[in-house]
């Protein structure tokens, strides 16, 4: 039932809304949560519980509410006591098979009052073969909503922030601290998890509301405070790196803010703790905070006849609020004078309450106020181990690092004025420390030196600690009830777990799953600890608490993923490729043509006419300086000192363990200028690798290495007619075989473009010229080549054709035909390795490898069956043992049979050796080791032509 106007209400009665719950139409006002609107319409059952299908209703009336987790449209696990109603919203209960009112799983309760601890482990473990059947059963029982198969709607955002002070918690303490810190000069981020600032002041009386109004005015009058509502500091990491989840932003579903705060103020207030007794989960049993929020924020009358069980001022205030709302309070059971509740009873919802003295009251509402839990998560994440205070019956911060401070209810009690004062001091202290930290950062030192913060220390001493009030220690009463409402774990199960030997709280937690549900321990951890402590006859301090880990609040995968920021690289010829319908291949950051429709035809055309391939992604580096050759000699296993100007050389690079790292061609352009190329995927690594030699081992070398990959568009012109084609476009360079032989580089004008580099190399095995032209002319040169080559049968070819062509020629690809263990001698690169050089990367390992002969070798393989291509990575077996694998395989259009490269054991590497290859489905294929890696033109007649 909706009450008349409340002074602090958050609903807008002039804005009525309609929404659907469980298939029926319900009214709400703007500002209602789903559960407040349902409660206003008299609904009391919001869900069925996870294991026992017990009816559950409003317990906390905030985001932790364990029985109010619902489905909204496509979105599962929505917190109905936090999510506001929108007009037309479609909400439905979760975990209610087949219906909210009648539930066949109630049979669980008929079988045994409580499923035993470890029920799932014990029941569904063995035998293994029944697991599919168990899975089907468990799936039906598991709570959780329905996940949509469609991509998440809406936009997820990410932001980086560098505030001076982040205040986690926008209650009175957080607001006061934020204002004080801002007035002391700090840029402040004030983060509040609810939809409005104010914390418990919002559901307080006239005094609280007037203080709230003042605080709100102060916050909004302070420019340097950024207020984030419906947001939560979900994690605190090294160096005060904070994960802040922000919601309720226009146009943004969720935003993850990664904030590097100079200081963090933790002011989350306190969380009200449920009391453990029989029937404590019945709809109609709720916490004092829930009753007060329903009445004062949403003007909802939570019941008609109530028992109030109180141990503190919150319970007393709830009793007053109830009477003010017209609820008949038939009994105030005061724990401070020995009062207790023993049992709540009713079918589906609360009907009666039995008190400690045996009296029983007929009622539909039981409000409990039995104490507080300090939400110390962020403090734990900062390294604190909060200590338990028996007198106050709650945990307190113990020792915090310099950049984390705490204020408000988590640190003590006292009057509202005392709390505001403590918070203001803390805010000023945080601003002072942020200033010191900022000074350190500007000096380049991210960490505290022991003596550099006299200002902060001085202020620190000036803060008077808040008083701590005594509180009755109330956890479990005389009967057993639920400890964890979201996981359906009772105190009896925890006792059983202890009896079975799971007596440490961390073990009992995992065995029973207590504290592992949606509230993640915030409601239930201290009760769980108290029950285990009692069962082990130890104290709460001795029992300790479970470890709080990030995230403090749930984060969607969408928020973690954020928007995609993945750079993509294209060559200047990409538009041409797209217009010709090239099938794209994602190669690292590059998108490049895999083929233009028929890679086999592309191969044939290169072998018979002329083809063009866009090799722009090839890593390219400009080396300049008198010591450039020394760098090359250090990086590559080859020799470089005698490479003449105008020549190019194929080089192989190894890591210090002798494993092949990269390969490529380097050309000497002038005395102290080289152009080095690397594999497309290895280009970034190579630069770092070269820099590490220059910066750490040989700082005396005078050479600069500059990445120039994107400065050039690179085009390989390959095929017997490539010279004929280029002669039509190249000026001032003699392209004849005598004047421009194999493995030489020339600079000249191509299609009118100056300063193009041409080198004669042959990855494809054909006569070919690789052109590196200034990238802005790349498309022009490419189109000119296509135009001038029309009568020669020119056609573009892609990566797939190139892979076939090079495999026919037996050229290896680093990372395909080698792996993380392949040292250079295994890759048949003996000819390149010059062990007589003074030094090069990997030299000792290679010299040791050369002395042995027990390493695998790369060989060419010719399968006997000319119709079957053994898949890459197929095992090679010999004498019943694995003897190697196929590293590359294709059907050769040129030879009309399959061709392979493989790494095999050394004794099987002799040409003519017959090997057995395991095909899919276990079939064996026979193959013979060939004399050369090259299957086609092993003498290299064509590429030298």
């Amino acid at each position: 039932m909706r009450l008349s106007l409340r002074p602090g209400e958050v609903i807008d009665r002039s804005r009525p809304l309609r929404f659907t719950w469980n298939g029926h139409d319900y009214p709400a006002f703007l500002g209602d949560t789903i559960s407040s609107a349902l409660a206003a319409s008299g609904e009391r059952v919001m869900s069925r519980s996870f294991k026992y299908s017990r009816p559950r209703g409003v317990l906390t009336a905030d985001s932790l509410d364990p029985g109010c987790i619902v489905q909204v449209g496509d979105e599962p696990n929505v917190r109905a006591s936090h999510r506001r109603v929108e007009d037309g919203m479609i909400a439905s209960p979760q975990n209610v098979w087949p219906s909210l009112r009648f539930d066949v799983k109630v049979a669980n309760r008929a079988v045994s009052r409580f499923l035993s601890a470890g029920f799932y482990y014990k029941t569904f473990m063995k035998p293994q073969r029944l697991w599919p059947a168990y899975e089907a059963v468990l799936k039906r029982f598991a709570s959780g909503g329905v996940i949509s198969n469609r991509p998440a709607a809406g936009y997820f955002d990410k932001r980086y922030a560098h505030p001076d002070v982040v205040v986690a918690g926008g209650g009175p303490a957080g607001m006061s601290a934020a204002v004080a810190a801002a007035e002391a000069g700090a840029q402040v981020m004030l983060v509040e998890s609810e939809h409005e600032l104010g914390g418990h002041l919002r559901w307080g009386g006239a005094h609280e509301l007037s203080v709230l109004a003042e605080l709100k005015a102060a916050v909004s009058a302070t420019n340097s405070i950024e207020v984030l509502i419906d947001s939560v500091v979900a994690g605190r990491y090294d160096g005060n790196f904070l994960a802040i989840l922000q919601r309720s932003l226009p146009g943004v579903t969720e935003r993850l803010i990664k904030a590097r705060a100079k200081t963090l103020i933790v002011a989350p207030g306190l969380i009200e703790r449920p009391y453990v007794f029989a029937g404590n989960d019945l709809p109609g049993v709720m916490l004092s905070g829930a009753a007060r929020r329903l009445i004062n924020l949403w003007a909802v009358k939570p019941g008609t006849r109530a028992v109030v069980f109180t141990a503190n001022s919150s319970g007393d205030a709830a009793a007053q609020d109830l009477e003010g709302a017209g609820v008949e309070v038939c009994c105030v059971e005061d724990a401070r004078r020995g009062g207790d509740v023993v049992r709540a009873s009713g079918s589906a919802t609360l009907q009666s309450v039995e008190c400690g003295d045996g009296r029983t009251y007929q009622c539909d509402l039981l409000v409990t106020a039995t104490g507080w839990t300090a939400p110390t998560s962020l403090l734990n994440m900062a390294g604190d181990k909060p200590t338990y205070d028996e007198r106050a019956a709650r945990f307190f911060p113990c020792s915090l690092p310099e950049d984390v401070l705490a204020t408000g209810g988590i640190t003590g009690d006292g009057s509202l004025e005392q709390i505001l004062e403590h918070a203001a001091h803390t805010g000023r202290l945080a601003a002072g420390r942020a200033r010191v930290a900022g000074g350190r950062l500007r000096k380049g030192v991210p960490h505290a030196a022991p003596t550099d913060s006299p200002v902060a220390e001085e202020q620190s001493n000036a803060i008077t600690a808040l008083p701590v009030d005594a509180h009755v220690a109330l956890f479990r009463g005389r009967t057993h009830g639920f400890v964890d409402f979201s996981e359906d774990v009772s105190s009896k199960e925890l006792e059983a777990a202890v009896a079975e030997g799971y007596s440490s709280i961390e073990l009992a937690k995992r065995y029973t799953t207590a504290t592992m549900g949606s509230a993640q321990g915030k409601l239930e951890v201290v009760n769980a600890v108290a029950v285990v402590a009692a069962a082990t006859e130890s104290t709460i301090t001795e029992t300790g608490t479970t470890v709080w880990r990030p995230p403090y609040a749930p984060i969607t995968l969408g928020a973690l993923a954020g928007r995609t920021l993945e750079p993509v690289r294209y060559s200047p010829m990409q538009s041409w490729h797209e217009a010709r319908g090239a099938t794209p291949l994602v190669a690292g950051a590059w998108i490049r043509p895999d083929h233009y429709g028929n890679p086999t035809a592309e191969v044939r055309n290169v072998r018979s006419n002329v083809g063009l391939i866009d090799v722009t992604p090839l890593g390219k580096f400009d080396l300049r300086g008198p010591d450039a050759a020394k760098l090359l000699s250090q990086l590559y296993v080859n020799k470089w000192a005698k490479l003449a100007v105008g020549s190019v050389r194929y080089g192989v690079m190894c890591a210090e363990d002798g494993v092949v790292l990269d390969d490529g061609v380097t050309g000497r352009l002038s005395d102290d200028n080289y152009l080095m190329t690397a594999t497309s995927s290895g280009a970034d690594t190579l630069l770092e690798w070269a820099e590490s030699w220059l910066q750490t081992e040989h700082p005396e070398w005078r050479v600069h290495i500059t990445p120039v990959t994107s400065d050039f568009a690179s085009i390989n012109v390959a095929g017997p007619k490539s010279r004929t084609l280029l002669e039509r476009l190249v000026e001032n360079v003699d392209l004849s075989a005598e004047a421009f032989p194999y493995m030489r580089v020339r600079r000249g004008r191509v299609a009118g473009v100056e300063d193009c580099l041409m080198w004669r190399i042959g990855f494809t095995g054909e006569l070919s010229f690789e052109l590196h032209v200034p990238s802005s002319y790349g498309l022009h040169v490419w189109e000119s080549l296509m135009e001038q080559g029309a009568d020669l049968g020119i056609a573009p070819f892609g990566i797939e054709a190139q892979r076939i062509l090079r495999l026919e020629k037996g050229h290896l690809i680093v990372g395909q035909d080698t792996d993380g263990l392949t040292r250079a001698y295994s890759a048949e690169l003996d000819w390149a390795i010059k062990l007589d050089k003074e030094d090069f990367s990997g030299k000792p390992e290679l010299s040791w490898q050369a002395e042995r002969s027990d390493w695998p070798k790369l060989v060419g393989l010719r399968p006997e069956d000319v119709t079957v291509v053994p898949p890459e990575a197929s095992q090679i077996v010999h004498d019943g043992a694995i003897a190697g694998r196929i590293t590359s395989s294709r059907m050769s259009p040129t030879l009309g049979r399959p061709i392979c490269l493989g790494l095999v054991a050394p004794h099987l590497a002799e040409p003519g050796t017959e090997l057995s290859i395991v095909l899919p489905a276990g079939v064996r294929a026979r193959a013979v080791v060939t004399e050369h890696l090259a299957h086609f033109d092993p003498e290299g007649q064509r590429l030298r032509g």
């Binding site: 380049g444 210090e656 770092e688 000792p844």
Partner: protein
């Protein structure tokens, strides 16, 4: 995420860097025994406490540098560029 103080760029998120590893001297490649060379390749102290390690500022200035870091607290004590910076700066 810890902050790594680049001597050129100042404190930056660790994600901007490549962690090279514990600083370890390269043995003479012509006289090193297999034991010495493989210790250089694979053996690390991995202490609980202060260690000297190399980082590379890949998303920044492209410099290799060394820091001393307490592996328990992530406190960083001293920072120096690899010798290259000094040499090149003077030349």
């Amino acid at each position: 995420m810890i902050l790594i103080p680049c001597p050129n760029c100042g404190p930056r998120n660790a994600s901007e860097f490549r962690y090279v590893g514990e600083s370890i001297a390269r043995p003479d490649p012509n006289s090193a025994t297999q034991e010495q060379w493989r210790a250089y390749l694979y053996e690390r102290v991995n202490p609980s406490g202060w260690t000297t390690e190399s980082w590379f500022h890949r998303a920044g200035c492209g410099r290799y540098f060394k820091i001393e870091r307490d592996t328990n607290s992530n406190e960083v004590r001293a920072v120096r560029l690899e010798p290259a910076a000094a040499t090149k700066g003077e030349s």
